[in-house]
Point group: C2
Chain length 160, copies 2
């Protein structure tokens, strides 16, 4: 039987390699951030990521800067749920997807496909280059509907 290499978190390992490939250094804060993002889908606010990192490992501003650096090399993707705080998720690269966000509890459901390809094609036909898009679905999830029903009151207005 051949010696079993540590399987561990392979997306983490390839993420760290991506850092090296871009002449970016593999530091403890970056390792911590990527460990979180490769093990839970998220997306998470910067604050949420910071709170999940063992206390004392790094400063909040390092999380900001690390995520910004990672976004530039497409290691992570920044999401905007329109509530004043950006969120980040690990970028699987190949598999483009979108989200349904509960505008009450901010829970997220993933939709593993995209309907905007036709729009991107159209934009390129109009002469645009470097075309991307953002697409988010908002609603009130079943859980929050139940809670609202119990409380009897109407639910507060939130962007979306």
């Amino acid at each position: 039987m051949p010696p079993s290499h540590p399987p561990a978190n392979s997306s983490l390992e390839s993420a760290l390699q991506t850092l090296r490939d871009h002449q970016a250094r593999v530091t403890e804060p970056r390792r911590a951030i990527l460990t979180i993002l490769t093990s839970e889908h998220g997306p998470f606010t910067v604050e949420e990521i910071y709170q999940r990192i063992e206390k004392g490992v790094c400063d909040l501003v390092t999380v900001y800067r690390s995520l910004a650096a990672m976004e530039e090399i497409n290691l992570v993707r920044r999401c905007d749920f329109g509530d004043g705080a950006y969120r980040y998720e690990f970028n699987t690269g190949d598999h483009h997807h979108h989200h349904i966000i509960c505008r009450t509890c901010r829970s997220v459901k993933t939709l593993d496909f995209c309907v905007a390809d036709s729009l991107e094609r159209m934009a390129r036909q109009l002469g645009y280059e470097n075309v991307t898009h953002t697409l988010e679905i908002f609603g009130v999830c079943v859980n929050c509907q139940k809670k609202a029903a119990r409380a009897g009151g109407p639910n507060p207005a939130v962007p979306g």
Copy 2:
């Protein structure tokens, strides 16, 4: 020949009526804001709207508050281009549409249709209520490509 009623800006008039219908008062700042939004598509940042209003008519915070009030009654729509400043446009109501935004000069092209209906349907089937969505296309417009070519340098990275 029958006396010609003033044709003027009919969407402005109906917008003002919408205010009245919601027990909201028709004030000079609101009239000014709606005059702008019903005559140019936009969308415009709060600052841009403020600058288009004749100086001295109102304070910037009034533009913020007016737009917030108008959004609650669906008179205007808030757009998020991911660059840190919300934008507002007049809500035609019936005709849902989207935008292609140049990530260099922020110019906007309107797409008069929507491909996200199927996603909204899916969200409702998953039990979500009050479903909406945001969808924006980003790219670099032809103008900015020419400018970049003339300048010879690469263009700066911007969200999208």
